[in-house]
C-alpha cells in the first residue's frame, strides 16, 4: 500500500499559472512577494505564505463551483515541482480532476490535470481577492470569514 512518501509527482514539469490580470493582486496577498520587496509581511496583511498557497485556494474554490475559466493570458509563477513540498496536493489535484470529469481516466494526462487546475484557479482567485478587499478589516480575517462560509459552493 502506498504511503505519502511513495507519492510520485507527475506534475514536475507542469506550469502553475494565474491569469496575468490577477498576478499583481496575488502577489500582494503573499508573504513571498512582501519579503522579496523588502516590505514587512505581517500575517494579517498577507494571509498566504507562498504564491502556491493562494493558487491552491483558488483551485479549491473553482472546483467547488465546478466551472473552469478560459484565460487568454497566463502568468506562470512556478513549476509543478513545488507540489512535492505538500504531497497531499498531488492527490487532491488528481481527485479534483476525476471528480470534475466523472472519470478516473482524467488523471492519465498530467498536463490536462494542471490545465484544469489553472482554469479552476482562474475562477476562484477573483472571488478570493475580492473578499479581502474591504479596508475596514485586515485581509487575514476577511479571508477566514469568506472561506469558512463556503458560500461559493452554492454559486
Amino acid at each position: 500500500m502506498p504511503t505519502r512518501k511513495d507519492i510520485i509527482n507527475p506534475f514536475q514539469t507542469s506550469e502553475l499559472r494565474v491569469p496575468t490580470a490577477l498576478w499583481e493582486s496575488v502577489r500582494k496577498l503573499t508573504a513571498t512577494f512582501r519579503t522579496e520587496g523588502g516590505e514587512p509581511s505581517e500575517p494579517d496583511r498577507t494571509p498566504f505564505r507562498r504564491y502556491v498557497d493562494l493558487w491552491w485556494v483558488g483551485v479549491c474554490i473553482g472546483a467547488s463551483i465546478g466551472h473552469p475559466t478560459k484565460v487568454a493570458e497566463w502568468h506562470k509563477f512556478i513549476e509543478g515541482t513545488v507540489l512535492l513540498s505538500d504531497p497531499w496536493r498531488i492527490l487532491h489535484l488528481q481527485a479534483i480532476a476525476i471528480a470534475h470529469h466523472g472519470n478516473a481516466e482524467a488523471v492519465r494526462d498530467p498536463t490536462s490535470v494542471i490545465n484544469l487546475a489553472n482554469e479552476l484557479a482562474a475562477t476562484g482567485l477573483p472571488l478570493m481577492i475580492d473578499a479581502v478587499r474591504n479596508p475596514k478589516a485586515e485581509p487575514i480575517w476577511l479571508a477566514g470569514d469568506f472561506l469558512e462560509g463556503r458560500k461559493f459552493r452554492r454559486i
Binding site: P2, I61, H100
Partner: protein
C-alpha cells in the same frame, strides 16, 4: 434666595452641565460628588460669576472658558440659573410675604489670543417668572445685589481651604484680626455708615486745610500742612499694608496649592519602584508580542493547510474515490496481477494447476498477457496509489470535516483574547507612564520653580507689609502730635474759631460714626462668637479624640479667635490646635457668620470636610442641615470628594435631596475605569449618588468606598 437649577456652558471644563438643586426643606443638602480637578472649583466660580459678575472672579485676568479652546475662535460662556426669593414687605400698613421666581442668564464671550485673550462685557438678563410668562427686569445687577449682598459673598460661597484664613498663621496676627473684623463688618451690611465715615474724614481734612490757608500764624500754617501730609502718609501706608495683606493672602494660597500638588506628586509613588514595575510590564508585553506573532503565523499557516483543502474539496475527494472504487471492483486496480503472473511463470505452474513450463500453451498465453499489461501499468500504478491514498483519508474525513473551521475559530479566539490582554497591559503601562510623568523632573521642577517664585514674591510682600506697618504706626503717632500742636495754635487765633469749631464738629461726628460701627460690630461679634462656640463644641464633642479637651471657643474684643481648654488655658488656634480642630473651628465661624447675617441664601461650600474624622463629618452634616424651624429657604450645596463622603452616607441618605457626580474625562485611564465617549477633555455629569457608581464615574479606587454599580 433658593436655587432651583443651573445650566453651565463653557466655564473651564464644564462644557455643558445642567442640574437641579434640592428644594426639599427636610433634605436641604445638594451634594456634588467630585474628586480633585473634577470641576468643583469651576462650578463654584460659575455660580459666583453668575450672581456677582466678573468682579467676583478670584483673578479676572485668568480665562473663564476652557483652556484648550482654539486660538482666535470666540467662546460663548454662560450660566443660566433659576431661583426663588422669599420676600416680606409692608403694603398699606400690612405685612405681606410671598415668593417670586427669577431666571438669571449671564453670558460673556472670550476669544483666546496667542498669549492673552479678549473678553466682552458681561451680558446679564434677569427675568421675573410668573404664570404670565417671563418679564425682563431693568437693572438686574442692583436687584441681585439686594437679594444677595456682595459683602456676604465670601461667606456664602467659600471653600474649606480659604476659610482657614481666619486662623491661619500665613496672614500674620494683625491680618487675621482684620479678616475676622472685615467678615463681621461685611455681614452687618453697614455700607451707609462706612460711606459716612469716609465722607466725614474728607470734610475734616478740608476744614483743616482751610485753617492752614487762612491763618496768619506761620507756625500754624506749617504744622497744619505737615499734619495734612502726615495724614495722607498714614492713609497711604494703611492702604499699602492692606494691599500687601491681600497679596500675601493670594500668594499664600497659591503656595499651599503648589505645596499640596508637590506632595501629591511625591506620594504618587517611588520613581524607582514605578520604573521597575514598568520594566516588568514591558517584558510581559514583549513576551505577549512574541506569542501574538506566533499565533499570527499559525493563523496564516491555516490558509496553506491540508485541513483547508479537505474543508473546501473534501466532497470532490469522495466523488473521486467512488470512481476509483468502480475500478477496484472491476479488478483493474490494485495493480497486483503482474507480479503474481511473473511469480507463476518462474514457478512454471499456474494458480489453476495448469503447466506453465517452457513452450506450453499456458506459458505463451501468460507471456502475451504480461506484454499487454505493461503499457497500462503506469496509469494503474497512479490510480492504485491514488485509490489507497484517498481511501485512508476519506474514511475519516466525515468525522473531521470541520477541522479547519474549528482550528480557524480557535486561532481567532486566541488572538482576540491576547489582543485584549495586550490592551489591558497597554492601559496599565499608560497609567504607570502618567504616574512617572508626574514624578519626572520636569513636572516637579516646574512646580518647585513656580513654588519658589511664589515664595520669593510672598517674602517681598511680607517685607512691604512690615515696612507699611511701621510707616503707618510712625505716621499715626506723628498725626497725634501734630493734631495736638495744631489744636493749640488754632485756639490762639480767634479768627479761626469758626473753622476750628467745624473741624471739631466733623471730628465728633466721625467719632460717633466710628463708635457706632464698632458698637454694632461688637454686638454682632458676640452673636457670632456665641454661635461659633455652640457649633464648635458640638463638632469636637463628636470626636472621641478631642472630646472634653476644650471648654469654649470665642472671639476677643480685638477680633482674635481663641480657644480655651478644659483646664483654663488659652490656645492660639493657629499654633496649638491640630488640623482637624482648626477645620472645625473655621467651619463653625463661617457657619455662625451665615446664620447671624440674617441673609437667607444658599450656602455653597467646596470641600468642607477635609481632615475631619468620620464621626465629626457626620455631626457637621447633621448640624448644617438641621431645619427644626422649617425654614423653606435653607439650602446647603456641598462639593464633596469620595473620601469626605466616606462614613457620612447614612446622614446623606436622610439629608441630601439631590446628589450628582462630576468626573473629569481627562482622568482616564489613570483614575477612571472606562473610556469616556467624548473627544475633548471635559467634566461629565451622572446621576450617581453617594452610594453608587456607573460606567461614567467608576474610578479605580471605588472599591475602597464600597460603592454599588448602577
Amino acid at each position: 434666595m433658593r436655587l432651583l437649577s443651573a445650566h453651565v456652558k463653557n466655564v473651564k471644563l464644564l462644557r455643558d452641565i445642567a442640574f437641579e438643586f434640592s428644594t426639599d426643606s427636610k433634605r436641604p443638602l445638594t451634594v456634588i460628588r467630585a474628586e480633585n480637578a473634577s470641576g468643583k472649583t469651576s462650578l463654584l466660580t460659575a455660580l459666583t460669576w453668575a450672581l456677582y459678575g466678573t468682579k467676583a472672579l478670584e483673578d479676572p485676568a485668568i480665562r473663564l472658558g476652557p483652556a484648550y479652546w482654539p486660538i482666535g475662535r470666540p467662546c460663548l460662556i454662560s450660566v443660566d440659573m433659576q431661583f426663588d426669593h422669599h420676600f416680606t414687605s409692608r403694603l398699606s400698613g400690612r405685612l405681606t410675604s410671598g415668593e417670586k421666581r427669577f431666571r438669571l442668564i449671564r453670558s460673556v464671550t472670550e476669544t483666546p489670543r496667542e498669549k492673552t485673550f479678549d473678553r466682552s462685557a458681561d451680558h446679564v438678563e434677569l427675568f421675573k417668572m410668573s404664570e404670565r410668562g417671563a418679564e425682563s427686569l431693568d437693572s438686574p445687577e442692583l436687584i441681585l445685589d439686594d437679594l444677595l449682598p456682595k459683602e456676604v459673598r465670601d461667606i456664602f460661597f467659600t471653600n474649606g481651604d480659604a476659610a482657614m484664613v481666619f486662623i491661619s498663621m500665613r496672614a500674620g496676627r494683625t491680618s487675621k484680626r482684620d479678616q475676622v473684623k472685615d467678615a463681621i463688618r461685611a455681614l452687618l451690611g453697614i455700607g451707609i455708615l462706612e460711606v459716612s465715615e469716609d465722607h466725614l474724614t474728607r470734610v475734616k481734612s478740608r476744614f483743616a486745610k482751610h485753617i492752614a490757608e487762612q491763618s496768619s500764624n506761620a507756625d500754624l500754617v506749617k504744622f497744619a500742612k505737615a499734619l495734612e501730609e502726615v495724614e495722607q502718609r498714614a492713609k497711604h501706608a494703611a492702604e499699602e499694608r492692606k494691599n500687601a495683606d491681600r497679596q500675601i493672602e493670594t500668594l499664600s494660597r497659591a503656595c499651599e496649592t503648589l505645596e499640596r500638588k508637590l506632595q501629591e506628586m511625591l506620594r504618587a509613588g517611588d520613581y524607582e519602584q514605578l520604573a521597575e514595575e514598568r520594566r516588568k510590564l514591558f517584558l510581559s508585553r514583549d513576551r505577549m508580542t512574541k506569542i501574538a506573532d506566533d499565533l499570527a503565523e499559525q493563523h496564516r499557516e491555516l490558509f496553506g493547510s491540508e485541513s483547508l483543502s479537505w474543508y473546501l474539496i473534501g466532497d470532490q475527494c469522495v466523488l473521486a474515490l467512488r470512481e476509483l472504487e468502480k475500478l477496484h471492483k472491476r479488478g483493474i486496480i490494485p495493480k497486483t496481477a503482474v507480479p503474481v503472473l511473473r511469480e507463476r511463470l518462474d514457478m512454471g505452474k499456474c494458480i489453476c494447476g495448469a503447466d506453465l513450463g517452457g513452450g506450453t500453451p499456458g506459458r505463451l498465453a501468460v507471456e502475451t498477457l504480461l506484454r499487454e499489461q505493461k503499457d497500462a501499468d503506469s496509469d494503474r500504478e497512479t490510480l492504485t496509489r491514488l485509490y489507497f491514498g484517498l481511501k485512508s483519508e476519506v474514511d475519516d474525513w466525515t468525522e473531521r470535516e470541520n477541522t479547519w473551521a474549528n482550528e480557524l475559530m480557535r486561532c481567532g479566539s486566541n488572538r482576540v483574547a491576547l489582543l485584549k490582554q495586550d490592551e489591558e497591559l497597554a492601559r496599565e503601562m499608560e497609567s504607570l507612564d502618567r504616574k512617572i510623568d508626574q514624578i519626572k523632573s520636569s513636572g516637579i521642577e516646574d512646580l518647585r520653580r513656580d513654588f519658589e517664585a511664589k515664595r520669593r514674591a510672598l517674602s517681598v510682600q511680607q517685607d512691604q507689609r512690615n515696612k507699611a506697618m511701621i510707616d503707618e504706626r510712625v505716621a499715626t503717632e506723628r498725626v497725634k502730635e501734630l493734631s495736638a500742636r495744631v489744636q493749640e495754635l488754632r485756639l490762639l487765633d480767634s479768627k479761626l474759631r469758626t473753622l476750628g469749631a467745624r473741624v471739631d464738629v466733623s471730628q465728633d461726628l466721625l467719632n460717633v460714626v466710628k463708635e457706632t460701627i464698632e458698637e454694632l460690630q461688637q454686638v454682632a461679634l458676640k452673636k457670632v462668637a456665641s454661635r461659633m462656640n455652640e457649633l464648635f463644641l458640638a463638632m469636637v464633642g463628636a470626636d472621641p479624640d478631642q472630646r472634653g479637651l476644650y471648654r469654649r471657643a470665642t472671639i476677643a474684643h480685638n477680633y482674635e479667635i481663641v480657644v480655651e481648654t478644659a483646664d483654663a488655658r488659652t490656645l492660639d488656634p493657629d499654633l496649638e490646635l491640630n488640623g482637624a480642630a482648626q477645620r472645625m473651628l473655621t467651619f463653625a465661624f463661617i457657619w455662625a457668620l451665615t446664620e447671624v447675617s440674617g441673609v437667607r441664601a444658599p450656602r455653597i461650600i467646596d470641600t468642607p470636610l477635609g481632615m475631619m474624622s468620620g464621626s465629626v463629618k457626620g455631626r457637621v452634616l447633621e448640624l448644617i442641615s438641621a431645619n427644626e424651624e422649617g425654614n423653606r429657604e435653607l439650602q446647603v450645596v456641598l462639593f464633596l470628594t469620595r473620601s469626605e463622603i466616606a462614613q457620612t452616607e447614612a446622614v446623606l441618605d436622610r439629608r441630601a435631596g439631590k446628589v450628582v457626580t462630576f468626573s473629569n474625562s481627562d482622568h482616564y485611564p489613570v483614575d477612571l475605569v472606562n473610556k469616556p465617549l467624548v473627544e475633548e477633555p471635559q467634566i461629565l455629569m451622572c446621576g450617581c449618588d453617594h452610594r453608587r457608581t456607573c460606567e461614567v464615574c467608576q474610578r479605580r479606587s471605588d472599591d475602597l468606598f464600597g460603592l454599588a454599580t448602577r
